[in-house]
Assembly symmetry: D2
Amino acid sequence: MTRIGFLGPHATFTEQALRSLPASDGAELVPLAGSPAVLAAVRDGSVDAGCVPIENSVEGAVPPVLDGLVDDPPLMIVAEALVAVRFVLLARRGTSRGDVGSVASHGHGIAQTRGWLADHLPDAEVRVSSSTAEAAAQAARGEVDAAVSSPLAAEQHGLDVLADDIADNPGAITRFVLLTRPGPPPAPSGRDRTTLAATTLNRPGTLLGLLTELALRGIDLTRIESRPIKDRHAEYWFHLDCSGHVAEPAMGEALAALHRRCDRVRFLGSFPRAGDVAGPAGGAARDAAGSPAVPLGPASPEEFSAAQRWLDGLRDGTHT
Amino acid sequence: MTRIGFLGPHATFTEQALRSLPASDGAELVPLAGSPAVLAAVRDGSVDAGCVPIENSVEGAVPPVLDGLVDDPPLMIVAEALVAVRFVLLARRGTSRGDVGSVASHGHGIAQTRGWLADHLPDAEVRVSSSTAEAAAQAARGEVDAAVSSPLAAEQHGLDVLADDIADNPGAITRFVLLTRPGPPPAPSGRDRTTLAATTLNRPGTLLGLLTELALRGIDLTRIESRPIKDRHAEYWFHLDCSGHVAEPAMGEALAALHRRCDRVRFLGSFPRAGDVAGPAGGAARDAAGSPAVPLGPASPEEFSAAQRWLDGLRDGTHT
Amino acid sequence: MTRIGFLGPHATFTEQALRSLPASDGAELVPLAGSPAVLAAVRDGSVDAGCVPIENSVEGAVPPVLDGLVDDPPLMIVAEALVAVRFVLLARRGTSRGDVGSVASHGHGIAQTRGWLADHLPDAEVRVSSSTAEAAAQAARGEVDAAVSSPLAAEQHGLDVLADDIADNPGAITRFVLLTRPGPPPAPSGRDRTTLAATTLNRPGTLLGLLTELALRGIDLTRIESRPIKDRHAEYWFHLDCSGHVAEPAMGEALAALHRRCDRVRFLGSFPRAGDVAGPAGGAARDAAGSPAVPLGPASPEEFSAAQRWLDGLRDGTHT
Amino acid sequence: MTRIGFLGPHATFTEQALRSLPASDGAELVPLAGSPAVLAAVRDGSVDAGCVPIENSVEGAVPPVLDGLVDDPPLMIVAEALVAVRFVLLARRGTSRGDVGSVASHGHGIAQTRGWLADHLPDAEVRVSSSTAEAAAQAARGEVDAAVSSPLAAEQHGLDVLADDIADNPGAITRFVLLTRPGPPPAPSGRDRTTLAATTLNRPGTLLGLLTELALRGIDLTRIESRPIKDRHAEYWFHLDCSGHVAEPAMGEALAALHRRCDRVRFLGSFPRAGDVAGPAGGAARDAAGSPAVPLGPASPEEFSAAQRWLDGLRDGTHT
């Protein structure tokens, strides 16, 4: 049976995301403590795949995941899922807000409710947990007075909801990815995302060159992040999300061009773009991807094939 | 007397950075709880300037500072300082590592010592403080067993150093900025940085257009970050650091071009680039900026003036 | 009284073009032998302006005019006119086609009727005249049996039309320009052309850089020609026609950018684009310019002004 | 035996160029009247190849050759040769300059000696011949008093040289090309030129896009000409000479990209660049090509192969 690790314990937003993916059907889902542990378990083969958060619509990228993705040995993204995050304040039955002297959550839960906590629990001590579900477990065990966590965790641990929907920016969506060791990417779906990371020599214009290679081939860049390279001050890994699939000629040619141009380039996967947000109760589907289908201009597979046939004819002299 | 707020309490790395800046001479330094509080105090006039961390060579950007900078009303960076960050584990006299059941630090202190804590204090509860100095104060008051903080805080609170230099990536450098309300920027020093943020309409190629405007005028881009725009899914503020000063013609023309091209553009200041790392003991100065002076190509002020004089002559018909 | 030289003698297509320009009203029109003579007369002040052909829709650029324009001292184009060229075969009364052993025309008349002459007068000797009108005069004087010339010349010299509309590509349009010594350009009309010439150092990518400077500022390039630089093998003057006027900020900024980037750049004038074809009988006006109004994108004067005001505010600290 | 047509009659500069090419060894050289006749003879198979002038360092492109190259059916350039052109004034024995009332030459001979003729034979009637050699033949037959032709023609027709080296710009070099019907191009020599022609839709920025496709792949553009498209006013064929060979990956990828991007693109051949000027007496060889070897940047065949192997591995999952 397939084993899939995820940022545990049970009842995390990550588990919610994972369960929305077809790959989880019939698989053994293994909760692990922290995203780095999930990446490590995929790398060492103790699980077949792993699910971690990569980006939040309010907080931005998840730095340890981005940094972990470019470590060795390589990993590959094979699927993604979107989850609408809803934060609630949980406590054991009978606790009132006035009793809360300490509150725990995952770093992201703390960051996204910072304003609410400052307004409503200004004197509470804030503790970092390895996940929002673990914070709920801590509250259930009495190690902390309250937890910023999910409705699912309230249910699972039999906790009361002291306050609902307490995110400073409601409507936040988190994107999760399913990782495996490298192998053939999933077949193109016609609506794919390719994720990659690249470093450039620290010279003027190199990022521009990189983006031009993409744009010229009709490839849309949907996200760019820079992450400092640990021991090289003022140098960065650029993390890029693009429209398209490595099996398509436009993307293939662009990736080959980046391979020639960049100091290092790491292919992180081609996989179908998620279009439905997995909500707590199955949720009303909506297209969260936002951007319209990209006009690929001169980069359609048909145009690439026609151009290649023409070129082949030039080279062997059979036609012009 | 000038009042300058900083991410307090006393003995933070931010205070260290602030004291290395000439602007702190003779000023009243006002410790404030958290970067958002510093930004707010500058905005409401309760201080004349504020000092906050903006980027760390290991952890990357400081998201709440980036997000706070693009809020209203506008703020302006007028100086920057680099500090080599050294984390130590502090506790009250007599505490041994085996006694440590809880440890506090600022979120960045926790993030940068994550590996060390997992290896050496796997069972300790980790609490978030508003600053590393506040974590040391909590340890001194006995509210927590230990703190991840700075050597300066050890001294100030009379705490023992249980472990020195515990960062997962030693040699980290943090960049701090001094903020004021908008006004004339500092005079060009010949070695300046201009910081800005921009949003583009969510269309293919817009980021490329933005970078081309800079590159064509010989302006080097030294850093780019994307931060999600709170309530607009899949749209981003791009934060850019560039070589040059708004008073120079190349930068002026580029900024005007971005103003025409971008949905929104926020000028965040032109100021001398920091080249010396402020160490705990005054430290041996070294050039931490790394990248060589940028060859400005056809963008020197002299070339711009000559071209403008030529253009003026064309327009009034006095010469060609 | 203003004196305007033109490629003579009387009855040339050039005179037709000149008479369609308002500048010719009340001026003394001075026929001169050859385009180089017209350019020289403008330069030495013996005429106030001069009219010469610059481009033909069938034959392309007129090389001696392009080359003459970049000579010293500088000249400036202040107006243009389009003429639909119609070639006829003329001879003295009583001549039949079988009698024609020699035929004269200007080089362009010969080039544009090459096929017709080869088919219908294969054995006739072809002679080069300084203009089509001069060829008609030669036929009238009996120095040659027939001339390829204009209907106007037939009338003027009392010659018979042996064959009408004999151009190999009927419908050819020739563009003529009115030149003066440098001075303030005509006021912007809202539908202007700017003509310039530039040389670049012989390095890869320099032409690309030049075109990018234009495109980035929303300036449309409507024509590009390369002419070898006389004594520098494999180096070229690039002759460019662009949409817009030097008085407009987008064009001004682009010209200044070319001045910085190019080895040499020669401004050859900003003037209203001709939209009506001057036909022999006044002609039905039609828009011969062809291309639709250019979407100027971020380059409208209003956008430029707004951006400049914003920049001024940044620099003096009065606003952001 | 191979038959090669050339712009005749015997003793033209074209014959000189053709004889300098290895392909002429043992071939039957067939003089034809005019470049269009040479192109037509190659197309209809009455000769196996044809030699015509394409560009002159003083006069620029040879328009009828450029225009003829993009006609149908397609032709292909397989070799090129450079000839240093030297014009002399020839006449039958006993003729003095004062006797010259008429002078004949090819259009290019007339154009390149225009100044000299105006100065020294202002009253002579100038006649157009189909070649400079034919002009010499006319002088020998007494049909014209003198000819602007080549030293070779003087010898061949037993004519006197009335004036030597009469070109207005001495040192002119003409480039000639050898054409065949389409077939496999000559093998890469490591120092090749690729010639092509393209039309773009009449929209802003299309030429820029075309040049960017070349530049991004490290391909140097050494010449660009625009020729009006006969019956489409204000639209052009762009004629381009580039460094490199269609068999090389960088050029192959660039050609395929132009095929996708352009309205029409015509491959006109890949062939070794000529480096030696064929002078009348065999001549001292010199590198007339001028420009230094192009730094191909990220476009070497090795870099392309490495990138392709990497891409293949990504696609089949065998490596990253």
